[in-house]
């Protein structure tokens, strides 16, 4: 921590005091603390969630995450939908990157029923998943600047994300909810001229990567706001279930694509970056590296994938598709980290249970509550965005 001669009262007598168990002792009747709600109606909160802050001055002494504003009872709804009907439903589990839901559902259903996905469909899936990561990162990387008031980067990023969404629209017929990776395969081949258009979009993104580096990562004020703030201790990584870029920024090289290769990731060359500083800046920087890597991956996919072929394995009639009894856990690497579906099939046309393990579940609840203690209220939004939380996947 930087000690500064102007830091008057930095060493002020601590209020509240630290108790024997190491937690702060908060006397809520003392009327010295202020309750402050961040959210749900708050531009600095990702999605629709809220944090109940107990503050003393500018410092947070207690934080409680409140979720459930987006709770739709998905897991209950799945129980009364056939497997094919789960497919359009499960996408809405996370609006930022819906494709990982599609893939995880499809992969688990295929694994349980023993279906082989055709070659070209696997490539298309890989492409779509990487495009989904790209569009998500295009929102999140500049979004970190946005939380501290650097709105320009967000403008550029969201514009480029829109270009990716245009490509999605061409390929899948949907803008945000693509509904493309269906159990058995995918729902269409690349349209005419798609590769060319995607590559020109990638070129624009290359330019953006440089621009955002200039604007954000070599920005004195941004550095000041983010370096050393929102530190995640490496020991927390396992005890709080931290995955993805957040874990990589803390020095753990965890990437499902590398560790448990799925689809065509075995045939692609990439190297996820790690760092050890583990603050907001580093996490953001890791995401920026991911962005570069994703652009590169898409280039590789486009060059390597076949152009034509069967796009969907013949499945049983989807109107009454019974999956044999069994359980599985299928994971993939979303832009936020390990994203998994735990599927229990009971031999009927309806799934017994589909449970989502979203990275935000641990990041935004237990970890965030822990990280916010002692933070400045102005940094809450930055910290939350740096964890890249996505409330719908917590609440489902």
């Amino acid at each position: 921590m930087n000690k500064h001669w102007l830091n008057i009262g930095y060493d002020r007598s601590k209020y509240p005091e630290t108790g024997v168990d190491g937690n702060l002792v908060i006397d809520k009747t003392a009327h010295k603390l202020v309750k402050l709600w961040q959210g749900p109606n708050h531009p600095g909160v990702t999605g629709n969630m809220s944090i109940e802050l107990t503050i003393s001055g500018d410092e947070i002494v207690e934080a409680k995450t409140h979720v459930g504003y987006l709770h739709r009872g998905f897991e209950k709804l799945f129980e009364r939908r056939k497997y094919i009907q789960v497919f359009p439903t499960c996408i809405r589990l996370c609006v930022a990157e819906p494709d990982y839901n599609e893939y995880n559902l499809a992969a688990s259903v295929e694994e349980l029923s023993g279906i082989e996905v055709p070659e070209v469909a696997q490539w298309l899936r890989t492409l779509v998943l990487e495009m989904a990561r790209l569009q998500s990162l295009l929102r999140v990387v500049p979004g970190q600047g946005g939380t501290t008031g650097l709105g320009i980067g967000v403008q550029w990023g969201v514009y480029l994300r829109d270009l990716i969404l245009d490509r999605f629209e061409e390929l899948t017929g949907g803008r945000v909810y693509h509904m493309y990776i269906i159990p058995g395969g995918v729902r269409g081949l690349l349209p005419e001229g798609f590769k060319k258009r995607l590559k020109s979009t990638l070129k624009e993104i290359d330019e953006f990567i440089v621009n955002i580096d200039n604007l954000m990562f070599s920005n004195a004020v941004f550095k000041k706001r983010t370096i050393g703030v929102g530190y995640i201790d490496p020991t927390w990584v396992d005890s709080y279930g931290i995955v993805g870029p957040n874990a990589r920024a803390a020095g753990f090289k965890r990437d499902v694509r590398k560790d448990y290769p799925y689809l065509k990731y075995n045939e692609l060359e990439f190297d996820p970056q790690t760092a050890t500083e583990s603050d907001i800046y580093t996490r953001s920087r890791i995401r920026w590296h991911d962005l570069k890597m994703t652009v590169d991956l898409i280039q590789q996919i486009l060059d390597k994938m076949p152009d034509d072929g069967i796009i969907r394995a013949q499945t049983p009639n989807v109107l009454h598709w019974k999956i044999p009894k069994g359980e599985t856990y299928v994971r993939s690497e979303s832009s936020r980290g390990e994203y998994g579906f735990y599927v229990v099939a009971d031999g009927t046309e309806y799934p017994r249970r589909i449970n989502l393990r979203g990275p935000s579940y641990t990041h935004a609840v237990s970890l965030l509550e822990h990280m916010l203690i002692g933070a400045n209220i102005a940094d809450v939004a930055s910290i939350m965005v740096s964890l890249q939380t996505c409330p719908p996947e917590i609440e489902r």
């Binding site: 749900p40 109606n41 987006l70 709770h71 739709r72 609006v95 994300r161």
Partner: protein, 223 residues
């Protein structure tokens, strides 16, 4: 169980009637729901009597729509594209505001869980009239994807008066812009008086709202 009893059951400790000792030693009885909130029954806000002036004001209202930045559902993911270069809704006088007090349009971006609905109602009531509600997507019309979910409402018009519906799941930014255009049309024609409709039928709306929001914990109308 009667509905009031249900609401009482979930009444938070800090909202219950109690006695407190004032600094001077006197005992004051407080009813937080009455004392801590503005809960006066709202009044209908008549349009300006002189037609020409009202028309002019309506033009201004139509050309300056301040939207509350409250992303209630999936549809909120299409708000950033709307206010960024691609679609640039600023050109049409649409701007985002962070506080309900200064906003006059509320985009209900898709499904509303009961928990959010409570906050939405509060935010809506804090907005100043004339205020408008734009309902986005299937979920607000008839439940959409979540028509059989135990935690999402099916019909928004039972809880809030809605000016414009936009079909889609989710509607694209262009559709949203078209919705704004429609809203502008309505405002300019003087037809967007749903805020008064809400006040006229306040009891009906309140009954509907209270039917599903068990954890009510606020006065009937909170400004």
């Amino acid at each position: 169980m009667k509905e009031t009893d249900i609401h009482d059951k979930f009444l938070h400790e800090e909202n219950k009637k109690r006695e407190v000792i004032a600094p001077d030693g006197s005992i004051i009885e407080i009813d937080p729901l009455q004392d801590y909130f503005c809960d006066a029954r709202p009044q209908i806000n008549e349009p300006f009597k002189i037609k020409v002036i009202e028309k002019f004001l309506n033009w201004a209202r139509a050309e300056s729509i301040w939207v509350l930045g409250f992303g209630t559902g999936c549809g909120s993911i299409e708000i950033p594209p709307l206010v960024t270069p691609r679609f640039d809704a600023f050109r049409y006088g649409v701007q985002m505001r962070a506080t309900p007090r200064q906003s006059n349009a509320f985009i209900i971006s898709g499904y509303l869980s009961v928990k959010t609905l409570k906050r939405v109602i509060r935010s809506y009531e804090q907005m100043q009239s004339p205020k408008y509600v734009i309902a986005l997507g299937s979920c607000t019309i008839n439940g959409g994807m979540y028509w059989d979910s135990y935690n999402t409402i099916n019909r928004l018009d039972h809880y809030l008066p809605v000016d414009v519906y936009i079909a889609g799941c989710m509607p694209r930014p262009e559709a949203l812009l078209a919705g704004f255009m429609k809203l502008k049309e309505l405002i300019k024609a003087g037809k967007a008086e749903k805020a008064n409709e809400y006040i006229e039928n306040l009891d009906w709306y309140k009954a509907n709202q209270k039917k599903i929001i068990r954890d009510w914990n606020m006065p009937d109308y909170n400004w």
